[in-house]
Symmetry: D2
Subunit: 310 residues, 4 copies
């Protein structure tokens, strides 16, 4: 399988992990989910992320999920695997395993204990060394990790850690961060790495405007990210915003922590992408009032999409 | 002036604090801002909040701002004043001063050192005692304070701290919290206090659906909150969503921490509500790219509002 | 092997994990270390704790360490294994494996995301369920986990989670916590579980005075914990303090985060307990000035022990 | 009054704030406390620190405390005043007031929202500007502020913020930080500023060995800090350790958060330094078991001091 490079573009969708109502892995739904993501035009898949419920899987299950996804894709799309772990050794262990299986690269978030610029740099330097020639994605997600990485620290990582090929940009607010990183790349001060944006796509049109290469995030309608990125890339900014605006009310609802993932799985199940909407325990569950909210948003969204002809 | 009670409803807008470009208080803009808020139909004003740049004011300036707002309103609308402080004594000192000036009530956020349910309760119990008969708003804002207050702790505060008359609901996600609090109120287990919602109104229609009484938040178009609350209150749920959706892209942009307040002031200045968009130092400033983003959102919003006839 | 129960008493030493200078597991040193701990009179061993560098081990290595320790002990002393993990499934996976190998019980710290009383309780309830009939130790270590668990939450866990048999008491300050828990146990309101104290033994005599059953912590002279607990248990309070005071200057030095573990391993290597003082990367290393500090403290400690005839 | 400079040395004791049992300021006890501190040989006083219960005072009370302390000292010893505040304007307001009253300098801790090196630097740069020519102490206290400031950031502050004349060193662990700062000062890369150490003096002999100029901290026996600093400064390292070791068991006990200050005030009241041991609400209170602990430590300490002839 081709490895992830600095030139990655488009939409890497954060895949959910399908479970049965009882909490067992649902491999048939992995297949249908992979088919669905492919059919709507994503560029790649990211598995074992936070919103893939990765911490709830055993080591064995983690590998089984990756294997099934890779099998189903059969090399048609690249797969990035989240390998964040409390220490370097287990991270390295998982990374080696999934790269052997055929992953294109791995993704690593910083541990919450990091407090200074040098600590953040040192962490990613040791990650780079531990991973050898495996390309990796720096996951910059302060809202969950509680670690803020300044643009100049990311630039230093880009300079000194050659296998860091992508930033999963999820700082918040973060538009100026993209601008700063692109400025230093444009001046030739640093390698130009790929920047794919997260946060459920909630700032995607503006992020594209700042020089992002696409999205790496999840949403029950990945059509939104695909549509926005395509429209933006072909210079149709207003169309990108039209598509974005149509999906925004639901995307916003899905960005609620905890309940958001339950909403995503609810819609994916309703759309027939996966069989059960269940999260593995411990996990949130939609209340009847939540379901009513989601249904109203879906109905309004359908109307709006019709209006804009999307 | 009438005091704040459990029956408060509608929109209490979080007022910005207008400064000159040099950082001095701009009292003329306080007047025009108060007039503007009144003209768009808000129910009350909240001053000296976080987004009112309260921590940047001296004690003397804080009182001057409150005085000017009260003077201009001349009793036509109630004013709530943020009095959060590192200790009870300075909080009490400010609360007494502003209540003497004619405020309707005060608002208190928890200190970030709180870690357990009992600590949260004990804090608000001591606040209640320190404030005597001054009614106060419990500001529940985990994203900024880092303190999560469980619904049952809020219920305990409602039961045992009689001068807690309102919840500024800003937990995130928080829809189920409103549902839980309303359930216990409906069963008669606790007083029914007022719940006004924050977070820039980003979940306002759904919050109204759960039993909120309105909004206490800021946005450069308070017409959004006023419109949504009115439509919802009169049973016109779809209209509420139409209005909300039209403003959502900009409201979302304004919710970015730091830069969001700069965007809010930029638009308020552009609308002639305040003279200068400047934040007092240290404060964010919009870059030319940020301005371009905001202008595009304003243009699209104007079109959309026209389409829905608002 | 006998399982851990509420009646556990004495000193469960937190074992270090010996590595070669190059960072490989040093199994010969595991043997000599186990022999050493046994020779100085500890009651049990705790392995794969934070200060056993557990997060730096792969899953395979973790099991190899546990196996070697159990082999060497051959059932003479009970072994508790740290199994904290980002999710329930990997925790359960490791717990099953080590219990099958012959461990006496496991230890679980709370994830740092916990914020309210109910979240803390719910976490340990789900841990209890996931572990089935495996007895576990609740590790209450706010300084590292950032989670504060109020005494009444621990009481609720004791009441409703029957396989919670021990508290590793490491709150700070925490003397009143022991007093509170013992009071409710003495009144028969809750099971009386075992309380072993951590924090490097820095408050051990006072903790014994409040009703603790001993220590579960590490120090390069476990003779200190053994001596204090024995003296206290036999009613010789002043002797307990004499022993404690003699070791306190070094124990205090070893309590420094990061560098403390390097100091512990330095002394253990100097004493011939393990071959290399190296921490696995990333890990602190003593500077020449640190070594000078430790050597002075060792020399002074030797004199003081002589003076008190210990 | 002479202003604080980079040459400050010795012991600046963190003064407690004496209250009556009812919580009123006890000015007579301020006088006796000031006399006591002077009599035991401290070099200066620091008032309105965290452990001076500063956040519990109104603005008016804060100034009254400073005024009384300055009056009683009548210029014989320099006074540093804690002026940390949520914003620059109120900090500046208090700083100006106390410098006019005759303080020698002020002390500023970072707000807990700081996350990156540049944010920390920018904060202290704006503090330096806001304070004009008032010399200030950088309070580096991660355990309470949750902000870690790397040595190189402190060096940058030293270089670019000329009125930063002292570091209150309270990082933990922090010995290598002193070493790093002294190394850059010795090479002439940065100004050599004064470093006074905190943390209740728990690492004072080692800190002196790394190049600290003394202590700025509190303890119910300031004789410890005075004795250790004097002995160390006159080259009598072993004597410094003897004195330190004699006081260490009590100093350790007093370092417990919350209850520690109650213990300090209990002993100061017992010694006749202040009239009441009460903390202003909300504040911890010693239980009978705590008192028993402290009394035992006091009795043992008296014996030990006799043995070493101190």
């Amino acid at each position: 399988m081709a490895r992830l490079t600095e030139n990655a573009k488009g939409v890497y969708v954060i895949a959910v992990t399908p479970f049965s109502d009882e909490g067992a892995l649902d491999f048939a739904s992995i297949d249908s989910m992979v088919d669905f993501y492919e059919s709507v035009g994503v560029t790649g898949l990211t598995v074992l992320g936070q919103l893939g419920e990765a911490p709830k899987l055993t080591a064995e299950e983690s590998r089984a999920v990756v294997e099934r996804v890779l099998q189903r894709l059969d090399g048609r799309l690249p797969v990035v695997v989240g390998v964040s772990a409390p220490g370097l050794a287990p991270m390295q262990e998982l990374a080696e395993a999934v790269m052997d299986q055929g992953a294109a690269g791995v993704m690593v978030a910083p541990p919450w204990t990091i407090r200074t610029d040098d600590q953040a740099f040192a962490f990613y330097q040791s990650v780079g060394e531990a991973l050898g020639d495996t390309p990796f994605v720096l996951q910059d997600y302060p809202l969950t990790t509680n670690v803020t990485i300044a643009p100049k620290v990311i630039e230093r990582i880009i300079k000194e850690v050659p296998n860091c090929v992508m930033l999963k940009h999820e700082d918040w607010p973060g538009l100026s961060k993209i601008t700063a990183l692109r400025a230093s790349g444009d001046k030739g001060e640093t390698r130009r790495i790929s920047i794919l944006c997260g946060n459920g796509g909630l700032f995607l049109p503006e992020e594209m405007g700042r020089g992002a290469d696409g999205a790496m995030t999840g949403f029950c309608y990945p059509e939104m990210m695909v549509g926005v990125v395509r429209a933006y890339t072909t210079g149709n900014v207003d169309r990108a915003h039209d598509i974005f605006d149509a999906y925004l009310p639901l995307a916003r609802y899905e960005q609620q922590q905890g309940i958001g993932l339950a909403a995503r799985k609810y819609v994916l199940a309703k759309r027939g992408v996966i069989k059960s909407a269940a999260l593995r325990k411990p996990g949130a569950k939609l209340s009847p009032l939540d379901v009513k909210d989601v249904e109203r948003l879906l109905a309004r969204q359908a109307l709006r999409l019709q209006e804009i002809g999307a």
